[in-house]
Amino acid sequence: MVNLTIDDTQVTVPKDATIFDAAKAAGIRIPILCHDKKLQPFGGCRMCLVEVEQMKGRQIPACTTPVTEGMIVRTTTDEIVKARKLVLELLLLKHPIDCPVCDAAGDCDLQNLTYEYKVNLNRFQDEKFQHQIDYENPLIERDMNRCIHCGKCARICDEIVSYGAYTFMNRGIEAKIGTEFDGPLNCEFCGSCVSVCPVGALISRPFKFKARWWALNKVKSVCSYCGTGCQLTLGVKDGKVLTTIYDENQGFHNGQLCTRGRFGYQFVNSDKRLATPLIRKNGVLQQASWDEALTLVAAKLAEAKNAGGKAVAGLVTARLTNEELFLFKKLFKDGLGSDNIDHSAGYAHAALTAGAMESFGTVASPAAISDIQASDLLLVVKTDAYETHPVLGFEINLGVKRKEIDLRIISDKRGKLAKLPKAVTYVHKPGQEVALVNALAQVILAENLQDATATGIEGFEALKQQLADYAPENVAATCGLDADAIKNLARDYAKAAKALIILPLGLGYPGHGKALAQAIANLTLLTGKVGKEGCGVLYLGEKNNSQGAADLGVYPTAGGADADAIMTGCLNGSIKTLIVAGENPVVSYPDRKRVEAALDKVEFLVVQDLFLTETAAKAHVVLPACSFAEKGGTYTSVGRAVQRINQAIKPVGEARSDFAILNGLVASLTGSAPYADVAAVFAEIAATVPAYAGLSLAELGDTGAILPVTIKPRFVPAGAAVIPVESGKLALVTGSALYHCGTMSRFGEGPMHVCPEGYVELGRDDARALSVKEGDTVVVKSASGELKLKAKVGTRMPQGVVFAPYHFGEASVNSIAAGAAVTWVSISK
C-alpha cells in the first residue's frame, strides 16, 4: 500500500493504483475523457491533468501516473483549470457542436465538461470536419465529425471484445477513427464502442432520435436472453422500453453487453405482441376475454386432474422467473398430480440435471464466473461458447490477454476464441467430444498424472476399466486428431495448477448432454480440479434462467414423462392436455414434423407466450404473457448467480405475467389461497430449495447473490455414442448464431437487422467443391427432409462439416435435424 495526499486528504491505495484511482478512492473527482476503468490507461486527452508537488508543479495526467509514497497532489488550481479549458477549446475547435440534434446531449462528457468549465468562447478558429457519416451499417451510426479521438472505441473493441474493428488512421489534424478500408462498419455489433464513446460520435441507430437521455426513466434489470445473466439498465419513456443504458458499475461485466442484450430489447414493445387471450372457435383463433379463457383452461385442467393427472403435461421455457417456474412445477405437482413437465427439449439441461447431478451430486456448476479470471488454463468445449454466451467470451478474452491464462479449445469448428493469443484449438470430428474427453482422462491415468484424491472417490476402479478402451491411439482416428496432440492436451490440463472447463449447453447442442457432462466431470475429479478457486466446470445454461429451472426441478423427478416422452405421449394419445409456457417446440425442438404432428394431435393445447409463435398458432387457447420488462422476480444464471429483475413498464395490451396466470391456476386447482406476491413465492423457494436457503427477495438488492454449492463427487463412466459415418455426405452440426438466442431474439429488430434469416455455413474447400458462393441459395437434404438455405462461406468450418443456426421459424433447421449430435446431409445448388 502507498500513502499520498490529494487536495489535503490522506489516501492509502494499492501500489498499482494511478493518481486517478487514488483520487476516486478519496472521493475526489478528476475530469476524464479518454480514461475508462475497464481499459488500459491511455493518456490521450489531457483532461485529467493534476499537479504533483514533488514534480515542481509540472502538470501530469492523473489517469496514467502511478502513485508513489508521499506524493502531494493538487487536482484543481488556477493553472490546471486554465489547462483544462485549453483542452476543451481545442476539442471544440473542429467539433460540430450540434447538441440540439445529437443523441449524446445530456449524457455527453464533452458537453458536461464544457459547461462545467464555462468554455463559452473559443480563442481559436478553424473549419469544421467534413467526414462522411456512416449510415450504412445496421446498428451503429458513426459520425466522426463529433469524435474527440479518445480511442476508447478502438481500445474496447480490441482489449475486451477482441474484434478490432477500429483503428486510428491518418495523421495530425487529418487523424480519425477508421474501419477496415474506411468502409461502413461491419463487425459483431456488440455496441461496446457505443457504450463507452464519451460523445455522440457513435450512437445506436435503433434508438436514434427516439428520446432525450434526461427524459428516460432508468430501470435496472437483468438481460432475458442467455444464461450469462448480464445486468442491464432499461431506458423507459411513456410506457415503452426505448433502449438499454450503459452503466459501468453494473455486474461482473462492468456494464458490457452483447449485441442481443444491447440491441435486442425491441421485442418488448413489438407490435407483434399478443394483446388479448385467444380461443379457438370453429377452427380459428379468436379474441376472447381473460375470464372466458381462464375459465376454459381451469375447467379443462380440473378435468385432467380428475382423470388422474397422467394425461396432462407441461413444457415451460427457462426464460421465466424462478417464481414462475416454481408455480409451474407446483401447478403440476400439487394442482394436477402430474410429473410430466420439462423444459428445453430435455437434452439441453441434462448436463446439469442428470450429468452434474450424478457426478457432483448437485445440479449446479461447481464453479462461478469469477473463476474464469482466477484460473491458469481454460479448456473450452466448442468455440461456440463465444456465440452462445458472448459476455463470458469477453471474460475469456480478458483473462487470456491480460492475465495470460492459457486457452485450450476442443471443438468441431474453429471460431473467434481460437484466434486468441496462446489459444490452441483441437478441431475434432463432429460428435466425438465424449470420446476425446475420455481419451484425455485415459492419458492422465496412464501417465499417472492424477491427483492423490482421485483414488478415494467412489467409482474410480470402474472408471479406470472403462477408460482402457479410450487410449488416444484407439480414438485418434475417429476423433480426427493426432494421438500425440491428445496426450499433450491431457498433460497441459493435468499439469496446470488451476484449470477450468467451460461447457456451453443449449437446444442447438444435442451432443452436450449427460454423457459429455460426466466425461468432463470425471476429468476434473481425476485431476482434483474441482472445488477450488479457478477450477471446476462452468456449465453455460442456454437461457437466462436455465440454472433456475434446474435448481427448481422443472423436469420429471418422479418418473414422469420428459420432453421427448411428452411428444410421444401427444402422438399416441396418452397425453391429452398440454400447457406450453413460453417454449416454441415447433422451431426449437428436434424433428419439426414430429413435433407438429404431436401438437396437432393433442386434444387441448394451451400456450402462454408473448407472440403468436409457430407453436401458439396451433393452440386451443393462447394466453398473452408479459416480457421481463413488465414483471418482477429473479433469474439464476451461469455460475449460480441469482439476480433480480424489476418491472419497468406496465404490461403491454391486456397481457398478464406468467406469475399472475399460474398463481390463479394453482389457486383454483389446489383450492388454496393465491400467493400474495413474488416475494412470497421467493420466500417459499428459499424455504424449500436448499441452495436458496436464507435468501429473501429484498436482500438480493441490485447485485444479487451467488448460491452456495457442495459437491459429492462420484466417477460415473460415460460411454461415447458411436456416430455413424455416411461417406460422401457432409456432417451438419447445429448451434447458436452470435446475434440470436433461442427463438425470441427474432422479435427484436436489432438482431434481425444483422442476421435476419437462417443460413448454412460451409468451409472454403467444401464450398469450392460444390461451387457454392457466399449468398447462394442451396438445398440441404437429410434423411428426414430438405431445406433451402442461404450459404455462408468462411474459414471457420473444417472440411466435411457444415453449420446451421437453429433460431429461425422459416426454413427451421429442425425440419432436417432430428436431435442427433450430427446430421448427415447432402448439399446441392
Partner: protein
C-alpha cells in the same frame, strides 16, 4: 348630504365630453404590443419548420404542455415529426421560446384563442407553422 351626490354627478357629466376608454371589440381591434406573448408559431425557413426537435422546449415547459416527437428525414436529419402544444395548459410564460437553441419558436400577437371544443385547443404542428 347633497354635496357628495353633486360631485359624483359632476364626474359623470364631465365624462360625456371625454374620449371613451371602452374598446368596441370585436368591431374595434386593440393595439397589441410587439412583445406580447400570444399563440406560439413555429418559424419557417427554406420551406421547412426550423425546429430540429431537440426537446428543450418540452423539457423546460413548466406546464408540461408541449409534445415533441422526433423523426429522421431522408437526409438522416432530425425534424419534429410531431409538435403539439396544449394551449389549455399553457401559462404563456415564454420559456419555450427562450430555451430554443435554434430560434425556431416565437410567440405571436394572436390572442383570440377561444374555442368550442377541448380538442381544438391542442395546436398541432400544421396549425402552429408561422403564417407569412
Amino acid at each position: 348630504m347633497i354635496m357628495p351626490l353633486l360631485q359624483g354627478l359632476k364626474i359623470t357629466f364631465l365624462h360625456m365630453f371625454k374620449k371613451p376608454v371602452t374598446l368596441q371589440y370585436p368591431k374595434e381591434r386593440p393595439v397589441v404590443v410587439p412583445n406580447y406573448r400570444g399563440l406560439h408559431a413555429l418559424k419557417v425557413s427554406h420551406e421547412q419548420a426550423k425546429c430540429v426537435a431537440c426537446y428543450l422546449c418540452p423539457t423546460v415547459c413548466p406546464a408540461k404542455c408541449i409534445t415533441v416527437e422526433a423523426g429522421e428525414d431522408a437526409k438522416h436529419d432530425k425534424y419534429a415529426a410531431r409538435y403539439e402544444i396544449d394551449l389549455l395548459r399553457c401559462i404563456f410564460c415564454g420559456y419555450c421560446v427562450e430555451a430554443c437553441p435554434v430560434d425556431a419558436l416565437k410567440m405571436t400577437q394572436e390572442f383570440e384563442l377561444a374555442n368550442y371544443k377541448r380538442e381544438d385547443f391542442v395546436f398541432v404542428k400544421e396549425r402552429l407553422l408561422e403564417k407569412k
